[in-house]
């Protein structure tokens, strides 16, 4: 009797379930044929979004936030979204073998670009995860003897936040200051080293101001004191020559979507000789030698590998072109308006990142007026806040100048026409805002604004 009752309830729930699932499948089918997600705001005569109407798609000058996917990269990826969908860890059939082969080829392309061995590359979800594994993983592994980390004030948020997390666990962190040019002082680094220093983490190319830290010199100091050296090279990979041997890096964070590859994939370089060990953040099936469990996203990895392959081939060509475009942009703006300041070192910087401050202009108004140019005031992570960037504050940039910074990111696909248009629009907007500004009027009359005693309200 009981079994009969069970069977009937089971049948009931089963029919209910199938009815529900058939309904659901119908609704997803309906969603698939309905207009896609971007149609509501895209009209034939322009785009309306967030209350802003633009005639055409803005020109993209925010290459530090992310880069467009190179068609050569997409071409390599697509087969792995279609027929070649195997799990690279499947050892029993062709699907797995071909995915595994593609993943290993990609791994060797990535290793090749940074002068490493493919065995030293661990795939992660991106540079943020790689930075987390590096900072927390190393310190957790060596926590009995090493209690101190050295990093800089201008690191990416994910390194700073990982350090803050370690601080809460009782580790000590030294945040090295940087000079007005954004470069750390090597003597200060040397002085900050303690016997229990377990990690030195310095990013290669800064994401906001584009300055290049003296990697080889830092690497030498790390070697001298036998301290693991981690560097966040997400903004450096494929743009400046990166060599783990020359830099003496023990760990290096890499990202796919900064080098015209797909988003959601990155890598961690982990030195084998001398071996550096980390405690994994994600535990599971033991993929990537147990350091990063989880099925490898074969299409993304193939894309990342292809992006590295293209980057290696195109680095000299891209660099020459991007440098010329940067000069064009900088000279074009400086010729037409005064009070333009480059944030960070002029000599030691990656050409594709031009961070400028415009005096006597309010930054948000400037960005709002530049709706046809996709630029940012700093990093994309903090672009929602009105606070001036902590990187610029670390440089000692005045509050008013830090508020008016704009980061122009030039990349592989940027054209001369886009740069000229950006100059024209920026100049027009800055002039318009200055015309309205009483401050600028006072400066033109020869009043030194810094001497003014503003009345307190």
């Amino acid at each position: 009797m009981a079994s009969k009752l069970l069977a009937s309830t089971l049948r009931q729930t089963l029919t209910k379930a199938t009815r529900a699932s058939s309904l659901r499948s119908l609704s997803t089918a309906a969603a698939a044929v309905s207009p896609s997600a971007y149609e509501p705001y895209e009209e034939l005569d322009g785009i309306t979004m967030k209350g802003v109407k633009i005639a055409g798609r803005p020109l993209y000058l925010d290459m530090q936030a992310t880069t467009p996917v190179d068609p050569r990269v997409l071409d390599a990826m697509l087969p792995f979204y279609l027929s070649r969908y195997g799990n690279p860890h499947s050892r029993t059939h062709l699907f797995g073998w071909e995915s595994d082969h593609a993943v290993e080829t990609a791994r060797s392309h990535i290793a090749d670009l940074i002068g490493a061995s493919p065995k030293e590359i661990i795939f992660t979800s991106g540079a943020t995860e790689s930075n987390n594994i590096s900072v927390k993983g190393v310190m957790h592994f060596y926590k009995d003897k090493k209690r101190h980390v050295i990093t800089t004030q201008t690191e990416h948020k994910c390194v700073l936040d990982s350090c803050r997390h370690l601080q809460q666990e009782g580790f000590e962190i030294t945040y090295l200051p940087v000079g007005p040019d954004g470069i750390i002082n090597l003597d200060e680094l040397r002085a900050a080293i303690r016997p229990d220093t377990g990690l030195i983490s310095v990013m290669a190319v800064n994401n906001e101001i584009g300055v290049i830290q003296p990697m080889e010199e830092i690497g030498k100091i790390c070697k001298e004191f036998n301290i693991p050296f981690h560097t966040d090279a997400a903004q450096a990979l494929g743009k400046i020559p990166v060599d783990v041997e020359k830099w003496n890096a023990s760990l290096m964070s890499l990202s796919g979507h900064k080098i015209y590859g797909p988003k959601g994939i990155g890598a961690l370089y982990l030195r084998r000789r001398p071996r550096i060990r980390v405690e994994p953040l994600i535990n599971g099936g033991g993929q990537e030698r147990g350091i990063r469990s989880g099925t490898l996203p074969a299409p993304l990895i193939v894309g990342f590998g292809a992006a590295c392959e293209v980057a290696k081939k195109e680095m000299a060509y891209d660099h020459k072109r991007i440098t010329a475009l940067q000069d064009r942009l900088l000279n074009g703006i400086k010729k037409k308006i005064d009070g333009v300041v480059i944030n960070g070192s002029v000599e030691r910087r990656y050409a594709g990142n031009l961070n400028l401050s415009f005096a006597y202009v309010e930054g948000e108004s400037l960005l709002m007026g530049l709706k046809e140019v996709a630029v940012s005031s700093g990093s994309a992570c903090t672009s929602a806040s009105l606070e001036p960037s902590y990187v610029l504050r670390a440089l000692g940039v005045d509050e008013d100048m830090a508020h008016t910074s704009i980061r122009f990111g030039i990349g592989r696909f940027t054209t001369e026409a886009e740069v000229d248009r950006a100059i024209e629009l920026t100049v027009k907007q800055v002039e318009k805002l200055r015309e309205m500004s009483p401050l600028y009027e006072m400066v033109k009359e020869g009043i030194d604004i810094k001497q003014i005693q503003w009345a307190q309200h």
Binding site: E43, G56, P58, L59, P71, D75, F413, T414, T415, R421
Partner: protein, 91 residues
Amino acid sequence: MAPTRAEIMGLYRSLIRAAREFCDYNIREYTMRRTVDGFRKNQKLTDSNSISSAYLEGKNQLAVAKRQAVVYSLYAPKVKSVIELEKLIIH
């Protein structure tokens, strides 16, 4: 065997034609520019082996460009880049 001059010029023309098919402004401009610059740089090649490998490379790039121009056209945004709109008004 090294390709003939006519074959090389044919490849050049095909690449430019394939580049024009890209609906995306930046990709189209890049593909044209990269083709012109690549051929200009390889003009100086004299060794038949390097000419052959450059030709083969170009052939592969042509295949990629042809495929990707189709993919881009399938998902082209309705609205063009502001740079292209500017051009349309002038002409």
